[in-house]
Symmetry: C2
Subunit: 370 residues, 2 copies
C-alpha cells in the first residue's frame, strides 16, 4: 500500500506550504527555496479548514435547512435520508455554492437555500447510484438500500430531488433554477452513459472524461455558477466560476478514481477496489490496460470484463498500475485540472478571503486521502 | 367476469346521454324523461373524445415537445423513454393542464411546456414505480426494466424528471414551478407511504385515501392548478381547478383499483390481479376484508399477507367482492369524487367549450374500461 501512496503524495504540487500570506492579507509566492523546501517538508496536506472556517456560519444555516427539509410525515423518509446526510459527507458542493456566492458579494441567504438544494441533488444521486451499482458501503456506513431496500432508496431519492427544486423555488432565482435543472439532467445522462460504457475494455480517455464531466463535474460547475448567479454576478464571472467548479470537479473525480486503488477502507468509508470488483473502467485502468498491451489482455478480459477475480488479482492490478505509472498519470491530469480551476479565479479580487479558500478547495480535491 | 363488470357499468350516473347541447352551444339538462331514458339506453359510455378534439392542436404541440425533449446523445435514453411514452398512454394529465389553462383564457404556449413537463413527471414516476413493484407489464408492453434493466429505468426516470424542470423553467412561471415541485415531492411521499403500508391487512379507508391523494390525485391537482396559474387565473379559480384535478384524480385511482379486479388484460394493457398478486391492499380489498369479517380472516392472511395464492384464490376474491358489493362501493365513492370535481367548475363560464369537456373527463375517470 505504501508504494502506491508515495507517488500520490508527490503530486501535491501547489500546496499551501509553498505560499504564504503577505502583510496585506494577499498571498504572495515565496521566493526562498529553503523556505519553500522546509515549508513543504513541514506542511500539512492541502486542507479546506480555512474555507470551512470562513463558511462556518453559512454552513450551519445550510445544515439547518437540510435537517428541516428532509422531514416528512412518512417516517421512513427522514430516517433513510439521515442515514446518508448525517454521515461523514464533506459537503463540498454546497460549500462551493456558498463560496462562489460570497466571493461575488452575495448578501442575503438565498445562497443557503441553493446550497441545501445542491446537497439534496447530490444525496439523491448517491442513493440512486448505490442501487444501480449494488454498492455495499457509503460514507463508512452500510448502504441505505441494504437496510431499507432498493425501492425505498429509489423513492427517497425522488423525494430529495423534488425537495431540492422546492428549495430552489424559495431561493427565487429562475436563472439558478435553470442551471441546476440542466445539471440534474446532465448528471442522469452521465450515469446512463457510464452504465452502458463503463464495462467496456475499449473505453477511451476521451469518453471517460465525457462521463465524469457529466456525472461529477457538472454538479460542481452548476453549484458554483448558481452561487454566482444568485449573487447577481456578471455573466463573465458566472462563467469563470462555472469553469472553476467544472475543473475542480474533474480533479475531484480523478483523485477519487485513484483512491479506489490506493486508499484504505478506514479512510475512504467504503471498500477500496469497488470499481475494480464491479468491472467499472476508470482512468487508472484505461491507462494501465493501454500500457501493459497485449501481454496482459487476457488478464483484463478475465478480471474486468468477465469479473472473475481474486484478491490477488486486485493486488496485481495495483502493482501494474504502480509499475506503469497509471495512478501517477491520473493524478497529474487531476493536478492539471486543479491548476485550471485556480486559473479561472485570476480575475477575482485577491483581497477577498474567499478566493484563496477556493484555491485550497481545488488543491484539496486532488490531495485528499478520502 | 361478466358478473363483475355489470355493477361497474351501473355506476355511470352522470353520463353524456343525460344532457345535450342547446342551440346556443351551452349545455342544458334534458327535461324529457323519455328523451333521457332513450339517450341513456343508446349512449356510448362517457368519453373524452370531445376534449381530445378541442385540445387536438395543443396536444400535437405537447407531443412534439415530448418527442423533442426526450432526445439525448446517450441512445438508451430516448429508446427507453419512447418505449413508455410512445405506447398507449391516455395523456390525461397534460390534457388537464391544457384544458385548465384554456378554460382560464391562456393565450400563449407556456401551457404546452407545462403539460409536457407534467407528462414527464408522470412517466418518471411510472418508470420508478415499475422497478419498485417489479411489474411485468405496462400499457400493453413488457415493462422497461425487464428490457433495459432496473438501473436504466431508475436513471432514465431521473432524466425525465430533470427534463420536466427544464421545461418548467422555459414556461417561465415560478408559481407553476412551485406547484409542480411540491407535487413531485408529495408523490414521492405517497409512494413511500404505500410501500410501507400497502401490505398491511389493517389498512383503513382513511389511510388508503391519504396514499392515493398523494401518489395519484396530487399530480392531477397540480396539473390543473399549474395550467390555471400560467394563464393568470385568480387565486379562487386556481383553487377551484386544483379541487377539480384532485377529485378527478381520486375518482381515476379508485376506478383503477376496481379495474384491477374487473378488467381484462387486453383492455388494461397489463394483467388484472396485479395488485392482488403483489399483496397490495387497495380500497376494494379494504371493503371486502371488512365485510367478510373473521370468517375469511385466515383466507386474507394467507393470500394477501403471506401471498400464498392460486388463480382460484383470485377468482374467489372477485366473487367475494361481488357478493359484498366491495367493487360497487368503491365505484360509488369514485362517482362521488367525480361529482365533486364537476361541482368545482360551477363558477366557470358555461359558454366555454372547455368546461363540459372537463366534466366529461371527470365522468370518464370513473367509467373507463382501461
Amino acid at each position: 500500500m505504501r508504494a502506491l501512496t508515495d507517488p500520490y503524495r508527490l503530486t501535491i504540487v501547489p500546496r499551501n506550504g509553498g505560499r504564504r500570506r503577505g502583510a496585506s492579507g494577499r498571498r504572495s509566492w515565496s521566493l526562498s527555496f529553503v523556505d519553500a523546501a522546509s515549508a513543504i517538508a513541514a506542511a500539512e496536506p492541502p486542507s479546506i479548514a480555512g474555507l470551512i472556517q470562513l463558511a462556518r456560519r453559512d454552513m450551519a444555516g445550510v445544515d439547518e435547512l437540510i435537517r428541516d427539509r428532509m422531514q416528512s410525515p412518512v417516517p421512513v423518509i427522514p430516517a433513510l435520508a439521515d442515514h446518508l446526510i448525517g454521515s461523514s459527507g464533506k459537503r463540498l458542493r454546497p460549500l462551493l455554492t456558498i463560496a462562489a456566492a460570497r466571493l461575488c458579494g452575495a448578501q442575503g441567504d438565498a445562497c443557503l437555500k441553493l446550497a441545501a438544494a445542491v446537497e439534496f441533488i447530490h444525496t439523491a444521486t448517491l442513493l440512486h447510484d448505490d442501487v444501480v451499482d449494488s454498492s455495499e458501503l457509503r460514507r463508512g456506513r452500510v448502504a441505505a438500500h441494504l437496510i431499507w431496500g432498493a425501492p425505498s432508496s429509489v423513492l427517497v431519492g425522488d423525494f430529495l430531488f423534488a425537495r431540492a427544486f422546492e428549495l430552489m423555488v424559495e431561493a427565487g432565482s429562475m436563472a439558478a433554477l435553470e442551471i441546476l435543472a440542466r445539471a440534474s439532467r446532465v448528471i442522469a445522462e452521465g450515469e446512463v452513459l457510464q452504465l452502458t460504457r463503463a464495462h467496456d475494455l475499449d473505453l477511451t480517455q476521451e469518453i471517460y472524461l465525457r462521463i465524469i464531466q457529466a456525472k461529477t463535474a457538472e454538479l460542481f460547475a452548476a453549484a458554483a455558477e448558481a452561487g454566482a448567479v444568485v449573487a447577481g454576478a456578471s455573466p463573465a464571472r458566472a462563467r469563470a466560476l462555472r469553469r472553476f467548479g467544472q475543473d475542480a470537479g474533474l480533479a475531484f473525480q480523478l483523485a477519487d478514481d485513484v483512491l479506489d486503488y490506493s486508499g484504505t477502507s478506514d479512510a475512504l468509508g467504503k471498500n477500496p477496489g469497488d470499481d475494480y470488483r464491479e468491472g467499472k473502467v476508470t482512468l487508472p485502468l484505461v491507462f494501465v490496460m493501454a500500457r501493459t498491451g497485449p501481454a496482459e489482455a487476457e488478464f483484463w478480459r478475465r478480471t474486468v470484463d468477465r469479473r472473475e477475480q481474486t484478491e490477488a488479482d486486485f493486488q496485481r492490478t495495483r502493482e501494474l498500475m504502480r509499475a506503469t505509472g497509471a495512478l501517477q498519470s491520473t493524478l497529474d491530469l487531476a493536478s492539471g485540472y486543479a491548476a485550471g480551476a485556480k486559473a479561472a479565479l485570476a480575475d477575482f479580487p485577491g483581497a477577498s478571503p474567499w478566493r484563496p479558500a477556493m484555491e485550497d478547495l481545488a488543491d484539496f480535491a486532488v490531495s485528499r486521502r478520502a
